[in-house]
């Protein structure tokens, strides 16, 4: 696991770390896991969960934490709580834990507003810095964002962020626009979301020549912190200092104001991390360790976080209002009813569906009890995942505004700077996390939700977080790398298998490719993949098979149209899925044909126990 962001903050324990209890306070539920050292290696042994209690009648996040831990106590027989206190360190094999750690995204997470001078240069850099630190960016203000000055001021006044990050200008460049923005912020007298009496934390990470003037203008009006410029020169981003400052201020100011967080910080043996920051640590580590290009997603109740590592560049975005409970209705609003309906394998009238979605919104902790309700939620999740990836692609780009060197061979290329870094053909692994993916009753459901939403091209491996513990392991990695790695490998990461998707279209039933699949035991399957088919072959975890495919003339498997490909494919709890539905994926427009197609696909991979 990677090094902690703040090595100096990590606790020094003077006793061995054998039993760990970790929680993640999500917007809907607080999830607790117990990790124990069993015969030299760390394993996740028990888990418990309880509704998060930042809200009335409790208004104290620790109540939910204690409830979730109480569940672990009941299941494990270990005494962890002494009244409202966690017993640390272990007193005997059945009493206490050695450390308690936590992540949190409850109470709406960390909400930030960022400013820059040019929207798609420093504005985007500031946005990336804030997102990478685990924040939700509620607005990006820039000198050229098209809003009139008084509109900008009005906007700053009405939004109540937890923190503001100001950037703008390269070091040594003009200061006027940065100072102007500081004047707007000062005139707006921004107020924090929580706590009427404390000053809003504000980080300045812009042109260093403007530091003095910014201090003069904002020093009295906000809790101002100055750090290195996030864009010292146009060609380079330096996001780490600003990100670290955000983490520090999150703990020092914001967390102190949220209900019960002061108590939670006292209970925890290590600094509390924002959930997305902890998940980001894990995603980055997987990619670096295995030299992969990956896309990770954490789909929660309120937000969907997307992480990507392509050619070593890490990016994270958060779609603040795409989620499966609090924000479920917004998925409907953004995706539109037709896009959700296209994944539902039965007919349902619009009114019923709309009412059901709204009822989930007003009672966000409920779970689907019947199969059709499950199918509706999984249909919605496909759209939430799809929209969040579109959002991610638009922000995970190269630096914009950078002069590009062109050679004679580029003379006909019109590629602008700032192209998206996400290349689905170079993607090696998709990692899914979050309730709907981790807790899907059948793992194939998680696999197909991600495949339908992301439409991977060529050969792509998929995995899920077994029971949703990536946040816990992210924070654990900052205090004990071995424990985090042990649990991650053995208990957290569940490889689902590989999806093989030829690119192109054909008429229904027409041949897309001939294939030969050689299993580890020598068995060989020779067959044909036709347009509109979904085929699934079981292939166990840690098993590999060899797949040779000869695509039809217009069909591409990554090497060019009609070019044959031979690849080792990895197995998993689901296996190898040959996706002959064409790329881009197109569903029949008329309802009976669409239901028939979905039913055929779902039955082919045994997605649900019975079909309508």
């Amino acid at each position: 696991m990677s090094a902690p962001a703040h090595a100096s903050d990590t606790p020094k324990l003077d006793y061995p770390l054998n039993v760990i209890v970790a929680t993640d306070c999500g917007s809907t539920t607080t999830k607790a896991i117990l990790i124990e050292k069993v015969g030299g290696e760390y394993r996740q042994t028990y888990r418990g969960e309880a509704p998060t209690t930042v809200e009335a009648p409790f208004e104290d996040v620790t109540r939910g934490v204690l409830n979730a831990i109480a569940e672990i106590e009941e299941l494990s027989g270990r005494k962890i709580l002494d009244g409202d206190k966690i017993i640390t360190p272990c007193r005997d094999p059945k009493t206490g834990v050695d450390i308690y750690i936590s992540t949190s995204s409850a109470g709406g997470g960390l909400q930030m507003m960022v400013t820059g001078v040019v929207q798609n240069m420093t504005g985007e850099s500031a946005q990336r810095a804030a997102l990478g630190a685990g924040a939700i960016v509620i607005d990006v203000l820039a000198s050229n964002d098209g809003r009139l000055p008084h509109e900008k001021i009005e906007r700053i006044r009405t939004m109540r962020p937890d923190m503001i990050l100001m950037s703008g200008g390269t070091d040594g460049g003009a200061v006027t626009h940065v100072v102007e923005m500081a004047e707007y912020v000062a005139a707006a007298e921004p107020r924090p979301r929580f706590g009427a009496t404390y000053k809003l934390p504000l980080i300045y990470a812009g042109n260093k020549d403007a530091q003095g003037q910014v201090k003069k203008i904002l020093g009295e009006k906000a809790a101002l912190e100055i750090t290195e410029n996030i864009r010292p020169v146009l060609e380079r981003e330096d996001l780490a200092p600003a990100r670290n400052k955000i983490h520090d201020l999150f703990l020092e100011h914001v967390m102190q104001q949220a209900p019960g967080y002061k108590k939670l910080m006292e209970m925890a043996g290590a600094p509390i991390m924002p959930t997305p920051a902890a998940v980001g640590v894990i995603m980055e580590t997987i990619a670096k360790r295995e030299h992969l290009n990956l896309i990770g997603v954490d789909i929660g109740g309120a937000t969907t976080d997307v992480f990507s590592v392509f050619e070593g560049v890490f990016n994270r975005t958060v779609s603040a209002n795409l989620g499966m409970s609090y924000s479920i209705s917004n998925v409907l609003a953004e995706a539109g009813l037709a896009n959700i309906m296209r994944w539902v394998p039965f007919e349902i009238d619009e009114q019923t569906l709309r009412n059901r979605i709204k009822n989930k919104m007003v009672r966000p902790t409920t779970i689907p009890q019947t199969l059709d309700e499950l199918q509706i939620e999984q249909a919605i999740s496909r759209e939430a995942l799809r929209l969040a990836l579109i959002h991610h692609k638009s922000l995970a780009t190269g630096l914009k505004g950078v002069q590009q060197e062109r050679t004679i061979s580029d003379v006909f290329e019109q590629g602008a700077s700032g192209k998206t870094l996400i290349d689905m053909l170079k993607l090696d692994l998709i990692v899914g996390s979050g309730g709907i993916l981790s807790h899907a009753p059948r793992r194939i459901q998680s696999m197909l939700m991600m495949v339908d939403a992301y439409e991977p091209l060529g050969f792509t491996r998929l995995s899920v977080d077994s029971i949703f513990m990536m946040p816990h392991l992210g924070v654990l990695s900052t205090i004990n790398e071995k424990a985090a790695t042990d649990v991650f490998v053995r208990d957290c990461m569940v490889y689902l298998g590989t999806c093989v998707a030829p690119i192109g279209q054909a008429k229904a039933g027409e041949r897309l490719a001939d294939y030969e699949l050689t299993f580890p035991d020598g068995r060989v399957v020779k067959d044909q993949l036709n347009m509109g088919e979904l085929q699934l072959f079981p292939l166990g975890v840690n098993e590999q098979a060899t797949l040779t495919m000869q695509p039809a003339k217009a069909i591409n498997l990554g090497q060019g149209a009609g070019v044959p490909v031979t690849r080792e494919v990895q197995g998993g709890v689901v296996g190898v899925m040959l996706d002959g539905r064409g790329r881009p994926l197109q569903l029949p427009a008329d309802s009976p044909a669409r239901v028939a197609a979905l039913t055929k696909w779902f039955n082919a991979v045994e997605l649900y126990p019975t079909q309508h």
């Binding site: 917007s27 969960e49 309880a50 509704p51 809200e55 009335a56 009648p57 409790f58 208004e59 409830n67 109480a70 569940e71 009941e74 109470g107 709406g108 000055p149 008084h150 001021i153 009005e154 006027t176 100072v179 102007e180 004047e183 005139a187 707006a188 107020r191 009427a196 209900p259 209002n321 609090y326 924000s327 209705s329 917004n330 409907l332 609003a333 619009e350 009114q351 019923t352 709309r354 009412n355 059901r356 709204k358 009822n359 919104m361 007003v362 009672r363 966000p364 902790t365 409920t366 779970i367 689907p368 009890q369 019947t370 199969l371 309700e373 499950l374 807790h439 009753p441 059948r442 126990p609």
Partner: protein, 376 residues
């Protein structure tokens, strides 16, 4: 395993509530501890700073930012009228004279010699914070606001739109499963809080606007009608600022759902009395549910009743409401709390409980799919 349950909505004949009446920025508190206040009485007021208008004088006059003070007619801190001259140049020839006039009436707030910008601010606007409920002031936070305590009947809804208002409670429906039709609304209901039954169709919404009711309280509504009423699809449940002509509170949810018997009975018992209602709902980051508050007269105060006993999870015998299909809206009593996980039709293994309905039937339901009916 008694910990995973959803705290329910309060529906109770008598409780003590405290509502913080806070100014958005420091101002003056108009009441003192012990004062009796009415819902429509201002308890605090503040002056909201006026809108800010930046004006780049350097650009408009075509001079360097640090030369601006030489051209200013109005200095920082001085009041200015709309169209009054703010700054002007002094050319040799009158022809080249440029005058910059103020776009607003207000004051010159500040001037920057770095950007050449002057900030003008409109006069402040007075903002009153009202008492909202009839009650007694129990706490005053100087410059910030006051806390009003009321002994009252309290009914929380599940979702609402529109802000705080008050009026006389009028029962339009005769039973909790009756649909509220336009015919139920009469001219006499103007300014009143009208209580319906199971459902509020679009035609009745239109009629409610026409009559001018202050508020509507019903079991359910169709999402599509809500969308038509608001003019947009509500994405996230953060409401309270909508202006549709009245405040709307749903007690059960979306669809046709009979109002819980207990809620209906309680509202009926207080028909003709004054109620304060708020549609503000926030289902994230500190839940706020819409509410109907029927304050009791001053003498009814029972000290100490504010401290409601802390619930210790769900117990056998607790009245509960099922809050998810297929039994959505049904009310019963917890009859068993098995501790082992059970497989439900989706194939998920979850914690369940057993609910016995008044007709003796029993159903097994995931624990997360019920809510305890509080305040019984």
């Amino acid at each position: 395993m008694a910990h995973s349950y959803t705290p329910g909505l309060t529906v109770t004949e008598q409780t003590v509530i405290r509502r913080r009446r806070q100014l958005p920025l420091p101002g003056t508190v108009l009441v003192t501890v012990g004062d009796r206040v009415q819902s429509n009485q201002p308890v605090a007021k503040a002056e909201l700073p006026g809108k800010v208008y930046p004006l780049n004088l350097a650009n408009q006059l075509g001079v360097a930012p640090d030369e601006i003070p030489d051209y200013l007619v109005k200095k920082a801190g001085e009041p200015v009228q709309k169209d009054e001259i703010l700054a002007e140049n002094k050319p040799l020839m009158k022809w080249f004279k440029t005058e910059i006039r103020s776009p607003i009436t207000g004051v010159v707030e500040s001037l920057s010699t770095v950007t050449g910008q002057v900030l003008l601010r409109e006069p402040p606007r007075v903002l009153d914070v009202l008492g909202y409920v009839d009650g007694t002031v129990v706490d005053v936070q100087p410059q910030q606001g006051a806390t009003v305590e009321a002994v009252c009947t309290l009914i929380q809804g599940i979702f609402g739109i529109g802000g705080e208002t008050w009026g006389t409670l009028a029962m339009a429906a005769q039973s909790p499963d009756e649909v509220l039709t336009p015919a139920h609304l009469t001219a006499g209901m103007k300014g009143k809080i009208v209580v319906g039954g199971s459902f509020l169709p679009a035609e009745t919404l239109a009629k409610a606007k026409e009559v001018g009711v202050a508020g509507l309280v019903v079991g359910g509504i169709h999402d599509k009608d809500l969308r038509a009423l608001l003019g947009y699809d509500l994405g996230v449940a953060i409401t309270g600022t909508e202006q549709v002509g009245f405040t709307l509170i749903l007690t059960e949810g979306f669809g046709t759902i009979p109002m819980a018997q207990k809620t209906f009975k309680l509202l009926s018992a207080h028909a003709g009395q004054k109620a304060a209602i708020s549609g503000a709902t926030q289902i994230r980051a500190g839940v706020i549910r819409p509410e109907i508050v029927i304050a009791k007269p001053a003498g009814a105060l029972s000290a100490g009743a504010a401290a409601a006993p802390q619930r210790e999870g769900i117990q056998i015998g607790d009245p509960v409401r099922i809050i998810r299909d297929p039994l959505f809206g049904k009310i019963g009593e917890v009859s068993a709390l098995p501790s082992d996980l059970q497989k439900i039709p989706t194939e998920s293994d979850v914690r369940v409980l057993e609910v016995r309905f008044p007709d003796g039937q029993v159903a097994v339901v995931p624990r997360t799919n019920i809510e305890v009916i509080e305040g019984s």
